[in-house]
Amino acid sequence: MIPWLFISGLLLMVYGIINGLFYAPSDYQQGDAFRIIYVHVPAAYISMMAYSLMAFAAFIALIWRIKIAHAVIVSAAPLGAWFTFLALLTGSLWGRPMWGTWWEWGDPRLTSELLMLFLYLGYMALRASIPNITKADKLSAILILIGAINIPIIHYSVEWWTSLHQGSTLLKSGGPSIAAPMLYPLLASIIGLSLFFGSLLLIRTKAEVLKREKHSRWIKDMILGDEV
């Protein structure tokens, strides 16, 4: 399943980005500068999806004590952190020519997304500082759950408060406000990046489970086969 996810994700992403960068028409106001949307929006979307997934896994892990849920959180964190960084970076590069600023402190959308980057980094730092794995699992899962309050704040920041950042183009009442030839490559790159993220997450989770269960009987059986 992993190779299928990986390859279909990669293909969709390549399709979306090539079409977005070379074939989609340019924007009536921004010209070609709007094309950063094909990287920025998927990255920002995954950065929030990854966190939501981690929060969901943390909830499962704390209540039902399911061990694999902790492995999922551990595996998703660095991926989420990188996509958050990518969203901030591409946003900043676009913001300089379009808005006239690299970064604006006090803007609710920008600040809440940066806070999420710190939540990811804080989660990894907290884990790294606790040697006992069971304790690290529990405390870091609580941190992730507390930080989950930031997700709706990021999403609605452009509606609740005045912000430099534009409102949502895709998830707005009355349907997406983007022309069709620009929209399809965008959807392709969002879905493609999601599948790509999913495949990376599965690979990492698999490795994490193997690492955690390295002393268990089934792993010895699996590796040594009939010799045991």
């Binding site: 028409p25 924007d27 709007f34 704390l62 209540i63 534009q166």
Partner: protein, 151 residues
């Protein structure tokens, strides 16, 4: 109660507490969370910090941009479709600065009621379309007001 149900209850109650606490915090900070204030508040001087810079956002009125020859000084007027605020600025404006566009000015009100800006940021709306589509649209629809502050 089973331990699992106890954990669920504890987690649920803490979640409700957290949401409530955040809600109250944001309610208290609401004014400060705003990135800019709208034109009407600026003109009527509602909640404007005294002797401090603040940001004001509005649409550039068509035909109001005046550039001083041989200088980077310019003046223009911003509106929220209710009130008008005159702005004076010296410097380079971003690419998206143009008539009818939403912009944010950072500065303070001068004695004469003119807003003296130190920075100008252009706001972009959430609509994306090719130029041809925009042309055919603008025959039917007048300027689309993208600013929430203007509503």
């Amino acid at each position: 109660m089973k331990p699992r149900q106890q954990r669920m209850l504890a987690l649920g109650l803490s979640a409700i507490g957290l949401i409530l606490a955040s809600f109250l915090t944001f309610k208290a900070f609401n004014e400060n969370m705003m990135f800019f204030i709208n034109i009407t508040d600026a003109v009527e001087q509602n909640n404007i910090p005294a002797n401090k810079d603040f940001r004001v956002g509005g649409l550039v009125i068509k035909g109001s941009i005046y550039r001083q020859p041989g200088d980077l000084t310019m003046s223009f007027a911003l509106t929220d479709n209710k009130n008008i605020l005159k702005v004076r600025y010296t410097g380079v404006v971003p690419d998206l600065f143009r008539e009818g566009q939403g912009v944010i000015a950072h500065g303070r009100l001068a004695e004469d009621g003119i807003f003296v800006a130190k920075t100008i940021l252009a706001k972009h709306d959430e609509n994306y379309m090719p130029p041809e589509v925009m042309e055919s649209l603008s025959n039917h629809v007048t300027e689309k007001v993208a600013f929430k502050a203007a509503q």
